[in-house]
């Protein structure tokens, strides 16, 4: 932490700051400039040091350390790999394709999709049994029946399953079927749910909140890691900006930024980010080119009749075409499908 004092702070005011910092068991180094006095605090940032911002002689408080620890590359310099189901590894040399419908709607819909995405090269099947919906009047998912269908699809097609848990109560039921539990963007700072994920021994796919900074996202991951669960995969799915031609703005720069600061694997969801099926393929390719470890894509046998997110779902044949083109991009950046 660095405290920037007003240049007209007198000796006693500077001494007060130093005293307060030392009272927290930390060290304070004072540097005097013509226009500002800088106090560098050595040791862990603590809340009471932040509160010194309230002293009149303190003009600004600048945090220095990354506030996360276990998620940081300082703590774990090598890339982490997360195993999902018996056969899939996220974060290794191979790029992982996760695909499936937004919501599980029926046996036919799910099995048709699962068969097609498996054939096209996906190794993880996505599909919501419990859906977080902005409106209470929208379709909320098939619930337990949806989980059963996902389980059936796993057995029939050998795909690993990722599906969302909305709350602590549902977490257990979801974790019984899922090979990886998704925590959605709206729950990224549902700290009770994150703590419950920390107690789980299943991989977690942690989506970025719509207005979460990268640091806040890593702190959300830290809640899970701090609970003892190190199997966390981050998923960039777009942030909220002023641009309305896309549903959200896919922040692909987050991929190399994360690769720099954290050891956790990162995947990209171009479907939710763009909200338009026409944009999914180019943005999936861009995600892999930016260094992502996988992509998460919505696929539906008949998008114009989907119960949710039809406008951003790929058809089965469009997904197969995308998968083919992704192989070439992966190779161009030294990876494979």
């Amino acid at each position: 932490m660095i405290l920037i004092l007003r240049s007209d702070a007198n000796e006693e005011e500077v001494a007060e700051v130093v005293r307060r910092v030392e009272a927290e068991g930390l060290e304070a180094h004072v540097s005097r400039g013509e226009e500002r006095i800088v106090v560098s605090v050595i040791g862990n940032d603590t809340e009471p040091v932040f509160a010194l911002a309230h002293l009149p002689q303190v003009e600004q408080v600048v945090p220095v350390k990354h506030p996360y620890k276990l998620a940081s590359r300082d703590f774990h310099p090598e890339d982490s790999q997360v195993r999902v189901g018996p056969h899939v590894v996220v974060g290794g040399q191979r790029v992982v394709l996760m695909a499936g419908p937004c919501a599980v709607e029926s046996e036919e819909q799910l099995m048709t999709t699962a068969a097609a995405v498996a054939r096209a090269g996906a190794t993880v099947l996505r599909g919501g049994a419990y859906k977080p919906r902005t409106s209470p009047y929208s379709f909320q998912g098939l619930g337990q029946r949806g989980l059963e269908l996902l389980d059936q699809a796993r057995r029939e097609f050998g795909l690993a399953i990722v599906t969302e848990a909305l709350d602590e109560e549902g977490l257990e039921a979801v974790a019984e079927v899922a090979d990886m539990v998704q925590i959605g963007a709206r729950n990224m700072q549902n700290f009770s749910l994150l703590r419950a994920c920390g107690r789980l021994r299943k991989p977690i796919l942690l989506k970025r909140g719509m207005s979460a900074t990268i640091d806040e996202w890593l702190l959300a991951a830290e809640y899970i890691l701090a609970g003892g669960n190190f199997q966390v995969v981050l998923c960039e799915r777009g942030i909220r900006t002023f641009e309305t031609r896309t549903r959200n703005t896919l922040d692909l720069s987050a991929v190399p930024v994360l690769k720099y600061f954290t050891h956790l694997p990162v995947v990209v969801d171009p479907s939710h980010a763009t909200g338009a099926w026409q944009l999914v393929a180019p943005m999936a390719r861009a995600g892999i080119a930016a260094g992502a470890d996988g992509i998460l894509v919505e696929v539906h046998p008949n998008p114009s009749e989907a119960l949710s997110d039809g406008r951003q779902s790929l058809t089965l044949s469009d997904f197969a075409a995308l998968a083919r083109s992704l192989g070439a991009v992966a190779e161009a950046v030294g990876r494979s499908l």
Copy 2:
């Protein structure tokens, strides 16, 4: 809902859209322009109509109706009033002051603050027993002991209590003590928790999510109303923007916008929005001038030693001065404290 078709859509393509709309039990009116064909859909918007965006002849889908119902002024034209505890009404002629520490830290801290804010004119005491914290390593609140202290403060000073519930599990414990339960910004779209609030028979203070549009916020309220709980107060607390001189950007225009679209009362929290105690008083005054039904302010006997949010807390005497000035502003807009 309005569907905008490509101008080169042929007869059969237009007919397909009409057929699909009618299959949903809705009516379709076609207007042909030189450059676009417009299909107005009469009746309730349904998900399958949205999904028509996937048809190649459909260029854009424009929702027309407000997606919320019970929260709308169309449904309930008069202002709603929400009773908090035995004596306080939010949404009436009197502007309500809600004040107290960010977190309950100790008996002395809470009682000192409660006494002072009551004396200054506040009628509701705020204070967190359970704190949602961005970092797992920050102070997380006193929990049950915090609730007991709030209960004690209510008895001693006759203040109504508002405090936050973080999850369904904690909701019951909080509701036993609180006169109004706060749902924080990070939980605004925690739909399981919102549904649980709908089953409660206590007023809910629903804070706006950091990146929630006004429509999404009203849909979150709709989850509570749809559950049968009509005692909802909305709280504007700043949205996330690019500006970093304030912690968030207080969106005061939301106050008159809400007053236009909804009957629910609206209060303003200038402390969390600005993140700087120096800005709290002017923004509290601006909030009342904009038409808010109350303000929610952080107050601490010794902000530079607070365990959380010290930098944005008012001292006891600064709060008393603010309260005095708010009376004059309230009168200037035809209200009173």
Copy 3:
């Protein structure tokens, strides 16, 4: 400036940073923590010190000083007052009402409006002769004829005139008629135009760019001040955010932030910010309550027939009502109309 080095930087790497800082004629103080090494740079920030961010041992570069000087309260602690025309002072005890049509459309429209706003208490008439329009196909203003009509309105009603200059070429013509020259949001970082304003000896109304931080805005003002023209009034007119229920998000917190950092007067434009006439009156009142020195409002004798911005213009009688209510708010915060 503060340089934060990686904790594993070795002696030679730290020494290299110190050497480079000293080569710029600055002093460097090194503080070593367990996790980071902090180098405080004493003296003026220079571009080459910023570029040290490129060294592998440098993790972060944190600017400390305000980058503006003449605009800063450090330089000029008292509030500045800007005289506009013979009778109006912006930044004094009296709050200033500036009102008029978005664009000058005709003699009748302008004179009717001028008479009405003068009667209601406005002392400055606004009205665009040259209009910056997002589309090349929109009405671009009456140009020179518009300036002549503004001049006529000044003579007839004793109002000071504020009108926009779009480019250096037009600046001279505008400055001949205007008592204050407006630089619009889209030109806030048109540095050639700002420099030309610095050479002018007329007050400048500098609108905030739609995505300008407060610091960038003050640096834009600094361009004008550095040219020798100290008569600058800042105008908050909304920033771009994700919220679409208003055209922009009026950032009223900017008012007290500016009052803290700069001596320049600040006015608020609720018309452009909200884009909806229904929101103008409450946000004008909120602006005054937040501490603004004046408001700038669009008024039109017949808004539903305006050639631009009709949807956000007040009628003559709505403006008169607003003006009455603003007096009470001004008094509530210790000022007058």
Copy 4:
């Protein structure tokens, strides 16, 4: 344009809207729903129709047509190709590399860089002679001397030149040397400058404004096209969001969105967008994968001593490595360098 009326609008109020629309020479079709009445306006949107939003019976005005014409694919369905200098085509099968220093600093710096980028495969040299700087105290470029050096580099290395013009006055001087004139982000809505570009017969590189929507950007291009200059290349360079780990947020989704709506070529600038050299290579690769026609990258022989933007410049060898990797990505998406 679509007008949405309140459901309780009476016959006379609906008739008034229809009358007003017809008075503009347009057609109006009325569709009545239970909750809203929709009036579809057939013909060109005009400002007076927008102004009908002011009528009390009008709840919302929804524009339908793209507001740009010449920039639209409706007008020109095939991809446009823009020739820059004698040898370079932007928008064809080959992806174009544009590289060079942020600012021209000296003969040695520019020639060293030009030689290296030419050798690595760049065909366009970038470099600022006139620099728009946020602060009046920053280095503002070498001006005319910078242009002379660029001219010399062109002759020596056979590179086409792109450099920025800041104002109408400078435009002529710049256009004499430049093969393509850059209009920077801050000037994207400097309409006088755009009009002057429309009169020029040189290609224009139009950077996206930091808070410009894609539609506004295309309307800015429309100003140039409407003046008769059809040689416009669009450059995505990041938009302003809340995320601070990157300088701006590179909006790569804009690339396929633009490819859908316009025929103009699109290039990507990952240097300004990210503000960090470590992120430039992955984002350049992502840009090509997303479908961009070229990239614009900052390169400096010694970035840690650059006079501007050192922290985001690549070294000569890092650029050479990037260029090699871009070839593979280009091939993966069916293009070549």
